[in-house]
């Protein structure tokens, strides 16, 4: 059986959304930062039991601009919240988007706390992580650079969307 699901990455600028997608799609990482303009679409097919799932990944840019992203989140099947472990302000996006689009709370989601390879710059406290986990969210510390937990996270989300 073949299925297609829309997955959106939500996160502040420069948290590593594009890098995570690139890591997941092609296992590559670029040191240079290039801001995404608009939306970048990627697809990857993965096998979940007897289902061939095509993940259509929407890498949406610039969540700072209020409201413009709502169109892109319409009909989403899965959300990847991307947070930066070296930038505590990146967690603010959770509230911003939740308030403007409360329906996102019902969408299967996982939380990536990215840049876990930057141990010296890691500032997010374990309590913040635990807070997220308390709400039955799947929270993964990951690294787009090393690939740690990236594929695991995407696969977990796929499982949630199929189930």
């Amino acid at each position: 059986m073949k299925k297609a699901k829309k997955v959106c990455l939500i996160g502040r600028f420069a948290v590593g959304k594009t890098s995570l997608v690139k890591q997941f799609i092609s296992q590559q990482f670029g040191e240079k930062y290039k801001t995404t303009v608009g939306v970048s679409i990627s697809t990857k097919k993965i096998q979940i039991d007897d289902i061939e799932l095509s993940m259509v990944i929407w890498d949406i840019a610039g969540f700072e601009q209020d409201g413009h992203y709502t169109h892109y989140l319409r009909g989403v099947h899965g959300i990847i919240w991307v947070l930066d472990g070296t930038e505590p302000e990146s967690f603010e996006i959770l509230d911003i988007v939740s308030k403007s689009m409360p329906e996102t709370k019902d969408v299967p989601s996982i939380y990536f706390i990215n840049k876990c390879d930057l141990l010296d710059e890691w500032v997010v406290e374990e309590s913040a992580v635990n807070d997220l986990k308390k709400e039955d969210h799947i929270v993964l510390k990951c690294s787009a650079k090393t690939g740690e937990n990236v594929e695991i996270g995407f696969n977990k989300l796929a499982q949630l969307m199929v189930n």
Binding site: I41, H71, V76
Partner: protein, 600 residues
């Protein structure tokens, strides 16, 4: 008292009181009352309809207000609901106008009688459409190569049909199309406007929007204006006929009927519109040139093959099995006799793949024979069928050798040996032995022939011939140009024996002249040999008639004069007479002569 009354009440009318209570609750409870009324409402409305229309009149105001309210509060859902119907309504109106317009065009086109027009008329008749519609169809200048049907909310691909196999990731494309639509709409125009088209290179993207899904058509070429309306009609049809499929994500890209419906709208044919007359002349000329060129090429190819076949077949000792063209050359397969002459075949035109064989062509046999006897200069061979006549001069041992060799030549069955043994060496040896000093004689000896020229002593000559004839009886002796010389005594004897009869001493006949010449020659030879002598001429007469001794002298003198004229020294010649015999009574011509005698 009141308590007792209540007790009595409750005893007497307990059920009624309970019923009343129930009724009160129903009436007072809004929810329950609404429930009760709703159950009878449709029946009540039906009953309320009157013939005078008062009920409808009473309802019209509230309904009008309600619809207006609904429009202002929830415009989109009203539009979404009306959309499938409105389009059809509008089209019906427009269609009638177009029909009229088409009818006018039809009349105009009916006047056309080109071959294309006739063909299209026939096709229109078979398809049961008007000629004008067929014209429209046939003059399509565009192709619809891809159709994407995309969920308007999440951008997921519902269905795709197309001709381009290069489009591998349709999910990504549909998502991007969705993004583009949203992005442009968000950035440039009001939220109610939809992206209609986009152009890139030779491709046009046409967007047709519906409430649940939108369609993107990839078009190559220049579609006519009605294409937009056709596309809009298509999305409306899809919404009307496949509304369940549009919302059921589990069935995306698995609905064959939807696919067929979309595929029927692909336009893959592209026929150029030709309202002008086609100029066929250059095409016909080009076609003729092409056909002519091809014909000539084929003819020349055939001719070349024919020529090479003729050439090869004409070569003795070659058997051709096949001739084909390979890598620009003629490949000849067959058999070739090793001594066949292949020089006429050019190496840059011909490749040979042959096996050797022994040919029995007459010319080949002749070649073979000539090769066999090539060692022998003086031998020649003539082939007649299966017989060879060999002739020439060879030694005895060589004769057998030649015969044996020739018998081994293929095609030769009979040898006729006409070889002659060459005795020239033996003859040379014999001549040298017989005539060690050849003096003035020149001998040429070849094979069985001896040519002698110059001059040779008579005795030597006779001896030589005799010696040669004994061992070589078949020898040929040629003596043209040979002077055989007499001996001295022989010359003397010749002269002394000569008597020239001169009946008429003034004139000499042939015989007399010859005799005299012989005498003169012999005398000259004697003089040459320094033989000292005198020649005595004796004249004679029969003294009959006018004849006398005087005539005898005259005869002798006449011959003497002739001899002197011939160069003989006069001092050598003496004359005398033989006196007449007086007892002769008859004329005796035999006595009318001159005789010769050599004296020292």
């Amino acid at each position: 008292m009141s308590n007792e009354r209540d007790i009595i009440k409750s005893l007497l009318i307990k059920e009624e009181l309970e019923l009343l209570q129930t009724l009160r609750e129903k009436v007072l409870s809004k929810d329950q009352f609404t429930q009760e009324v709703s159950q009878v409402l449709s029946g009540a409305v039906k009953r309320a309809q009157t013939n005078d229309g008062s009920f409808e009149r009473a309802l019209s105001q509230p309904i009008q207000k309600g619809v207006s309210r609904a429009f202002s509060d929830n415009k989109q859902s009203i539009i979404d609901g009306l959309m499938p119907i409105m389009g059809q309504l509008i089209r019906k109106t427009v269609s009638n106008s177009i029909k009229q317009f088409v009818s006018d065009i039809n009349r105009t086109l009916e006047l056309g009688f080109s071959s294309k027009a006739l063909k299209w008329r026939w096709q229109a008749y078979k398809a049961d459409i008007t000629f004008a519609e067929m014209v429209f169809q046939k003059t399509i200048r565009y192709q619809v190569t891809e159709i994407f049907l995309i969920n308007s909310d999440n951008g997921l691909l519902i269905e795709h049909v197309g001709t381009d196999d290069m489009l591998k990731d349709n999910d990504a494309i549909s998502a991007m199309l969705s993004v583009i639509k949203e992005f442009i709409g968000d950035s440039l125009s009001s939220p109610d406007d939809d992206l209609q088209s986009a152009e890139m290179g030779g491709n046009l993207l046409f967007f047709a929007h519906g409430p649940k899904a939108f369609m993107t058509l990839v078009v190559k070429g220049s579609p006519k204006e009605r294409f937009k309306s056709d596309s809009q009609k298509l999305i409306e049809d899809v919404h009307a006929e496949f509304s369940d499929v549009l919302v059921d994500e589990n069935n995306y890209r698995e609905n064959d009927e939807l696919q067929r419906h979309l595929r029927s709208h692909l336009v893959v044919k592209e026929i150029s519109d030709s309202t002008k007359k086609t100029n066929w002349l250059p095409w016909i000329a080009g076609l003729i040139l092409i056909i002519g060129g091809m014909s000539y090429w084929a003819y020349s190819k055939q001719q070349k093959l024919k020529n090479i076949t003729q050439i090869v077949n004409s070569i003795d000792g070659v058997v051709v099995q096949s001739i084909t063209k390979q890598d620009g050359k003629f490949l000849i397969k067959g058999m070739v006799d090793p001594i066949a002459d292949l020089s006429v075949l050019k190496k840059d035109e011909v490749t040979l793949e042959t096996h050797p064989y022994i040919s029995l062509d007459e010319n080949i046999i002749k070649k073979r024979i000539n090769a066999t006897i090539s060692d022998f200069d003086n031998v020649s061979a003539l082939l007649e069928g299966n017989r060879v006549i060999v002739s020439g001069f060879v030694s005895q041992s060589e004769s057998q050798k030649i015969t044996n060799r020739l018998l081994r030549v293929a095609g030769v069955e009979i040898i006729i040996n006409e070889l002659t043994t060459d005795n020239s060496e033996s003859i040379k040896a014999l001549v040298n032995q017989t005539m060690p000093n050849k003096h003035d004689a020149v001998l040429k000896i070849s094979h069985n022939e001896v040519s002698i020229s110059g001059s040779i002593n008579h005795d030597n000559y006779q001896r030589l011939i005799s010696q040669l004839k004994k061992p070589f009886p078949d020898i040929t002796v040629k003596s043209d140009g040979l002077e055989v010389l007499e001996t001295t005594q022989g010359l003397i004897d010749l002269i002394n024996k000569t008597t020239i009869n001169i009946p008429s001493y003034k004139r000499g006949n042939e015989k007399e002249i010859e005799q005299l010449e012989n005498v003169i020659k012999s005398l000259q030879l004697l003089v040459k040999r320094d033989i000292i002598m005198h020649l005595v001429l004796t004249g004679e007469s029969d003294c009959q008639g006018y004849e006398s001794d005087k005539h005898s002298q005259v005869r002798a003198n006449t011959l003497k004069d002739k001899m002197i004229e011939a160069g003989i020294d006069a001092n050598l010649i003496l004359t005398e007479i033989k006196s007449c015999q007086s007892d002769l009574n008859n004329r005796q011509e035999s006595l009318l002569n001159v005789s010769f005698m050599i004296s020292n």
